[in-house]
Point group: D2
Chain length 141, copies 4
């Protein structure tokens, strides 16, 4: 992570206790797009042993919020006003990548969407397990 925008996202990500607790890593930061990776682990499961919807939502909400942050005015911060997520199939996989993308960056509100991809062991192919549409608000720090 070498430019100012990437450092800004990385600093905020590193300050999130929950991301460390989950074991999530910041994978990619680009203008209007952020990717977060989460390896499967037993401490993240729902009752059938799959990744809990809450863990899926947590990394995808963060990816959407940080995508919005790459477009926010300097000196401002972002918070999630609301999101909606469809959990389309059981989150089964060895690792998961959440991708958040800005769809429209307004002065006050930024609309993003994103998906979580599940990768099986040793496979390049993936299945999309969740879709999100989120509204992020820019706030002056």
């Amino acid at each position: 992570m070498d430019n100012e925008m990437q450092q800004r996202v990385a600093r905020s990500f590193d300050a999130q206790g929950l991301m460390a607790t989950l074991g999530a890593k910041l994978l990619h930061v680009d203008d209007g797009e952020v990717q977060i990776e989460l390896p499967y682990a037993a401490h993240l499961t729902q009752q059938h042993g799959y990744l809990h919807a809450g863990a899926v939502s947590s990394i995808l909400d963060s990816a959407c919020g940080y995508a919005a942050l790459t477009r926010a005015p300097a000196g401002s911060d972002v918070v999630t006003a609301e999101f909606k997520i469809n959990l389309m199939r059981p989150a089964i996989g060895e690792r998961f990548i959440a991708i958040g993308k800005v769809q429209n960056a307004g002065r006050m509100l930024t609309v993003t969407n994103g998906e979580v991809r599940a990768f099986s062991a040793g496979a390049d192919a993936y299945k999309v397990v969740a879709l999100m549409q989120a509204t992020i608000v820019s706030v002056v720090r």
Copy 2:
């Protein structure tokens, strides 16, 4: 937890790795309503030190899902098809209670809503920090 419905919810809750990781406890199970409690902790934070939206969503999604489970046919299980959450204010507090309630239980789909209440240290008063509307699907095990 002494009746069959409560035991059913408690067994499933105890099988969720994520709830233990967060430190969440099953507080109350009634017909069509479930409450989950989460004490504030540093391993659950977003970048400003407040409770992360992902942790808020995780306990509220679980509360809504388990509320639906109290109305699901015997022998069936529930999974969240989708939810929408509004994060109305920073989740600041000493402990949080997520309350999920069934609004309409259909044959296939159950619609629930819920809220997360934030309690400050030593206070009985609370602030509602999040509202959810969720669709839960019943599946035969």
Copy 3:
């Protein structure tokens, strides 16, 4: 409608071409709550002859928006940033009442929820056919 708040809502409602097209009437305006009534009519149907989800959404979105307007600062207007609606059963009835209520009025964003009730001919009882959770933004005119 006799006080300033009610007149403000009524003036805006009367300026909405779509409400007249649907045949909707402003039924009730109170602090933080607005009700809109829509009689069933053949020009509002979906393919099975029931009230179209679009008509259900239109009156409920307006009820939520106007509920927010009752709490907006003088001289400001409101627009819907986003909403989520669950259509829980077919919208069958002789008339429908949409009820929007403010849940949290922030400086910039107001969170509302609401429901649409379906009444059969001659009946006082109703069925809730839809639930909404909406985010309304205040804008200076």
Copy 4:
């Protein structure tokens, strides 16, 4: 519209009283994607004279539902279980095109998303004014 799938969508569309009331036309039906066109008209407005969010939602909900119908088993029908829509900017334009696309077609639930594009008079360029994420349920007739 010449093949069976297109005829099936067209028959259902033509049976929707609301689509005729709005002045909407079925523009395009493909496997997993449906487009609906709506010319601007004064009977469709909100209080500032722009296209009402209810009209935007109505055509986009229909486009998403019919996109799901192109993937539904023969002999089944579709109904919208729920949708979420972001209204990203005022719906200003001479005509609007709603595009619904299937993202995941399950046995029971189909997840779609879509957008509404606003075209100004004489222009080929457009602005995306709304984004939707919807859950459609297949029902046996």
